[in-house]
């Protein structure tokens, strides 16, 4: 966990995020060990490494580590509250949020100078959490705490894609720890959102075909009805939606195709999957329509590509 080597001393690939786990205390790692070793053992044949040469040469990872692994623990910041410090310990360490939310360089390491400027995970975009945040309303610690433990915020939308798994797990974490993480993350984006001009409600989008307007009206508008603050199935206005505001269309396209599920066995936000209902062309037109109608940002240029990526 600290050094990124296995029992035999071989290098581990940093896909296992020991560049974050290295910040965990010995006590926490010990507790994890006790928990894991208490689980029933299962037989598992580990698959062979299929990386292309030279990546399959493990000793090269030692070079990566010299460049990018910092094993020193996080120093306390005495100017900040204990809650902030706890949050930073969790977020930078075991939480490894930067693993998705920070861009990576050509060697696959997080760009420390651009921490939390946004990244990617499993085809989805992980939005920026720092001053580059595109949210209409600044994420407060309260909103983040609600979002991280329930997967929904009235001001931003629902968690989807890999983040849905994260919030489902955080729902089981102690609320004071989630609160601490929220406090730390909120501190990364002070004063964001204050300069964003939201588009007018019922903004017309010239050049939209009648078909697309009809499809939006019949397939989307029952829930995404701007007359409601919070619509059926916990919809929030698309003008506030994180997915619609990202520079790329991946999140919006994937939400349309696969829908959004509530947490297992619990109530929550829901969106049907339109993958079988609408054609790629219809989904592309809808995505572009939503982008134009609900934001004043430049139109997406990657919609068809994102649909085809998501369909694979």
């Amino acid at each position: 966990m600290h050094e990124g080597v296995d029992r035999a001393g071989r290098q581990l690939y940093p896909a296992f995020p020991y560049d974050h786990f290295t910040k965990a205390t010995d006590d926490d790692i010990h507790a994890l060990y006790v928990f894991l070793m208490g689980q029933p053992p299962v037989p598992n044949a580990i698959p062979a490494n299929k990386l292309e040469f030279p990546l399959n040469f493990r000793p090269l990872v030692a070079g990566w580590k010299i460049l990018f692994l910092r094993e020193d623990p996080l120093p306390r910041d005495a100017s900040k509250s204990p809650e902030w410090n706890r949050g930073r310990y969790l977020v930078e360490g075991l939480g490894h949020c930067g693993g998705c939310h920070t861009p990576r360089n050509i060697l696959g390491a997080e760009e420390k100078g651009s921490a939390y400027s946004g990244g990617a995970a499993e085809g989805w975009q992980a939005p920026p959490l720092n001053s580059k945040s595109l949210a209409v309303h600044e994420w407060t610690a309260d909103q983040l705490a609600e979002y991280l433990s329930t997967g929904w915020s009235r001001w931003h939308g629902a968690a989807a894609g890999p983040m849905a798994g994260v919030v489902n797990d955080l729902a089981q974490a102690q609320s004071k720890d989630v609160r601490a993480m929220a406090t730390y993350i909120a501190s990364l984006s002070p004063q964001s959102g204050s300069n964003v001009a939201a588009p007018a409600p019922n903004k017309q989008v010239p050049g939209t075909s009648a078909d697309v307007i009809a499809i939006f009206g019949g397939a989307c508008a029952n829930c995404h009805d701007d007359r409601n603050d919070v619509g059926p199935s916990k919809t929030v206005s698309l003008a506030l939606s994180s997915a619609v505001r990202q520079p790329g269309s991946a999140n919006a396209v994937r939400a349309i195709l696969a829908g959004i599920q509530p947490p297992p066995g619990a109530p929550g936000a829901y969106m049907p999957a339109f993958a079988d209902m609408l054609t790629d062309h219809q989904i592309a037109s809808l995505a572009e329509y939503v982008r134009a109608r609900y934001t004043n940002e430049p139109q997406w240029t990657d919609v068809s590509q994102q649909i085809s990526n998501a369909r694979q």
Binding site: A210, D211, I213, A214, I215, F216, G217, G218, A219, A221, N222, C223, P232, S233, Y270, P272, F274, D276, M277, L278, T279, Q282
Partner: protein, 156 residues
């Protein structure tokens, strides 16, 4: 505005607003009362029909989006006017109380059996998840689906 859609293998010319959900057109314009309105939000499955054989919420599919795709309703599963194997299995198991969810259940199950003629119990339950029943008829519905699946197996 007239839109032509293919329903149960017949082209139908529909005069309706293009944003009208398919469900209303099937029930009102075409008098096909199999699919039903339960929620209008894609959450209950009472409106389930097939679009090119795939189970779909017809409450959320505007007719403007249908295009050339073929729509099949409960009525379209009949063979020579008689219930098909799955429909007969529902009748034989008396798998209905109020009956409101059943059309959707049959459509959802039919798609499963076409793709997987001998599903396990787990596969049936997982596949049927999008369809809700408020009367608690689930056990009978599952028996009906298994009965139809077993029947298909024997035929092979």
């Amino acid at each position: 505005m007239t839109i032509v859609i293919n329903v149960n293998d017949k082209p139908q010319a529909i005069e309706a607003d293009p944003s009208t959900p398919l469900l209303y057109v099937l029930r009102n314009e075409l008098a096909l009362h199999g699919p039903r309105f339960g929620c209008g939000l894609g959450q209950c499955g009472a409106c389930t029909v097939h679009v090119d054989g795939r189970p779909t919420f017809s409450c959320l599919l505007p007719i403007a989006a249908v295009g050339e795709r073929k729509i099949t309703t409960l009525e379209g599963l009949l063979e020579d006017g008689k219930p098909n194997k799955l429909q007969q299995a529902f009748i034989d198991e008396q798998a209905a109380q109020c009956g409101y969810c059943i059309s959707g259940m049959v459509m959802r199950a039919q798609a499963l059996l076409r793709a997987n003629p001998s599903p396990t119990d787990g596969e049936i339950r997982k596949h049927m998840r999008p369809n809700l029943c408020r009367c608690g008829t689930h056990a009978a519905i599952l028996r009906a689906i298994k009965r139809a699946a077993a029947g298909q197996e024997k035929r092979l």
